[in-house]
């Protein structure tokens, strides 16, 4: 029972990061109706900007409390990746705005490969794995009984929750958030209300990419090694999380992320019981994808939009 609870907790922490990435997929889908397959690579770029920022700024931040230097690195990486996300949209997707959606989708795969293989070049990040610095001091926190949570896991979880609260505020309470929701419901109507749709789309890419960057740093803090292909698997799983929750649905993406994280961790923890290698945990998300597409393609919280005419 304790082992089960421990696995559940671990799954929750991992899932919270998937949730963060899944939000970017779902928001971009909301405004542009396509899956930005380069999103996982922005996650990777977030982890790398954390790595390099720590390398360059580390000495000058050394005198500060770790929580402050973590915040500085996190916020700077989010800003860098927000700018990169906006740039990707501007260069790669905007010229295709009025083309068939398939063209944009294929372009997204191209952008993803471009980022990954450029990252492999020795002059950029290099192909080898690099250790990620411990931005959060390692320290076990014991809960009741034999349950243990690391300091890192706690910080990851708290950061994710704070970011989700901030996101909810932006989407539900601000003018830009209202425009995002209106645009996702009807781009023609939002333009007729005076919304500059291009600005809202850029903002959405920036917001999603910033969350992915935070996800990258938090992920690399839990699994401290980074390489240019590190975004592929978490990216795909987060995409599945977004579909599971109902693509375009923001709470759905968060829920989907948690479900994928928990299921994956449980499968990893118990696969030996049924005689499967633990590597199968990476497959479980895809099984979920197939099931959801077969039985509830609109996702758990997704609604089939209905409008009276």
């Amino acid at each position: 029972m304790e082992q089960f609870a421990q696995q559940l907790l671990n799954g929750l922490f991992l899932g919270s990061i998937y949730a963060l990435i899944a939000l970017g997929y779902t928001m971009v889908y909301g405004v542009l109706r396509f899956i930005n397959f380069a999103h996982g690579d922005v996650f990777m770029l977030g982890a790398f900007s954390g790595l390099y920022l720590n390398r360059w700024l580390g000495p000058s931040l050394a005198s500060l409390h770790w929580s402050i230097s973590l915040t500085i690195i996190l916020v700077l990486s989010m800003l860098i990746c927000a700018a990169l996300g906006i740039l990707i949209e501007f260069l790669a997707y905007r010229p295709l705005r009025n083309r068939p959606r398939l063209n944009v989708l294929i372009t997204a795969i191209g952008v993803s490969l471009l980022i990954e293989y450029t990252g492999q070049h020795p002059a950029v990040f290099g192909a080898t794995q690099q250790p990620f610095p411990a931005l959060i001091p390692a320290n076990n926190i014991s809960l009741t009984g034999n349950l243990a949570v690391t300091n890192t896991q706690m910080i990851v979880f708290v950061t994710v929750v704070l970011l989700l609260v901030a996101l909810r505020y932006i989407v539900m309470k601000t003018r830009m958030g209202l425009a995002m929701r209106a645009l996702s419901l009807n781009p023609t109507a939002s333009a007729l209300m005076g919304v500059n749709n291009s600005v809202v789309i850029s903002f959405t890419f920036g917001l999603g990419s910033a969350l992915a960057a935070a996800g990258g740093i938090l992920y690399a803090s839990l699994y401290p090694s980074v390489e240019p292909f590190m975004g592929i698997m978490p990216g795909l799983k987060a995409f599945i999380a977004a579909v599971l929750g109902g693509i375009g649905n923001i709470p759905g993406a968060a829920l989907g992320g948690l479900i994928i994280g928990v299921t994956e961790t449980l499968v990893g923890g118990y696969s030996s019981v049924v005689g499967l290698p633990t590597g199968y945990k990476d497959g479980v998300a895809f099984v979920i994808l197939i099931l959801i597409l077969l039985f509830k393609p609109s996702g758990l919280l997704g609604k089939t939009e209905r409008e009276k005419v």
């Binding site: 209106a182 419901l185 023609t188 007729l192 209300m193 939009e305 005419v309």
Partner: protein
């Protein structure tokens, strides 16, 4: 107030408008009538920047606005209530109205205008926290007009406000349109298939057929015109 000269619009190789010219004086209600596919909606869509024109000019308050982006045209006070209403179904009534006031920053004025549209359409007040998708067709039309009014437009373009609405409600909505025109001094360009009603409330009318203006004149004259009577008024 609005001058349109030889407007041409095409969807791919299909030409929808072959040189439409219109004039809408300030504070008037002008109507555009015609059958399905005559180019009424295309005219409005071109005026609000939703589709690019092939040729022709649109002059508004002395400035040429041809082919400007929709959000720039809205900012000048030209507001378009599109065909099919296009309300935001998953936003509440209140959020829809706030979207209408998207370009405004005067919180007090917005609140006052929200009260104003609620006095015109009290049904919306009862349902202000409800999702707009749950409204009936007529209520959605009221919301679409109210949402446009929230932008404090100087020039309102209405596309088929009577479409798919119960006849009783249509009368009520048209009364409100006339009331808004009289009390607010709002200029209105009305596109309608219901020619009877449109010619009743407007002062001047244009009859569109296959992308061309085939007839124009004061609404009273058009109503008396045998050709119009036979083709559009069912007399």
């Amino acid at each position: 107030m609005l001058d349109v000269r030889n407007l041409e619009v095409a969807y791919g190789s299909i030409r929808a408008l072959h040189g439409v010219s219109l004039h809408v004086p300030e504070k008037s209600i002008v109507t555009l009538i015609g059958a399905n596919g005559a180019g009424k909606s295309s005219t409005l869509r071109a005026l609000s920047g939703l589709i690019k024109t092939k040729a022709g000019t649109v002059t508004y308050e002395g400035n040429e606005i041809t082919n400007q982006a929709p959000h720039r045209i809205v900012a000048r006070g030209l507001c378009h209530v599109p065909e099919g209403r296009m309300i935001f179904p998953n936003l509440t009534i209140e959020e829809n109205l706030r979207m209408g006031a998207f370009l405004r920053r005067d919180a007090k004025g917005i609140a006052a205008d929200m009260d104003y549209v609620f006095t015109i359409f009290p049904r919306l007040l009862e349902r202000r926290k409800q999702l707009a998708g749950t409204l009936s067709g007529g209520e959605q039309q009221m919301l679409a007009i109210s949402r446009a009014l929230m932008g404090k437009p100087k020039f309102l373009m209405l596309d088929e406000p009577s479409l798919g609405i119960a006849p009783l409600l249509v009368k009520a909505i048209f009364q409100k349109i006339v009331e808004i025109n009289r009390t607010q001094g709002l200029t209105i360009l009305l596109v309608e298939q219901n020619a009877n009603l449109a010619l009743e409330v407007s002062s001047y009318g244009y009859v569109l057929e296959t992308g061309k203006v085939i007839l124009e004149g004061p609404s009273a004259d058009l109503r008396a015109n045998p050709q119009v009577q036979a083709a559009y008024l069912g007399i």
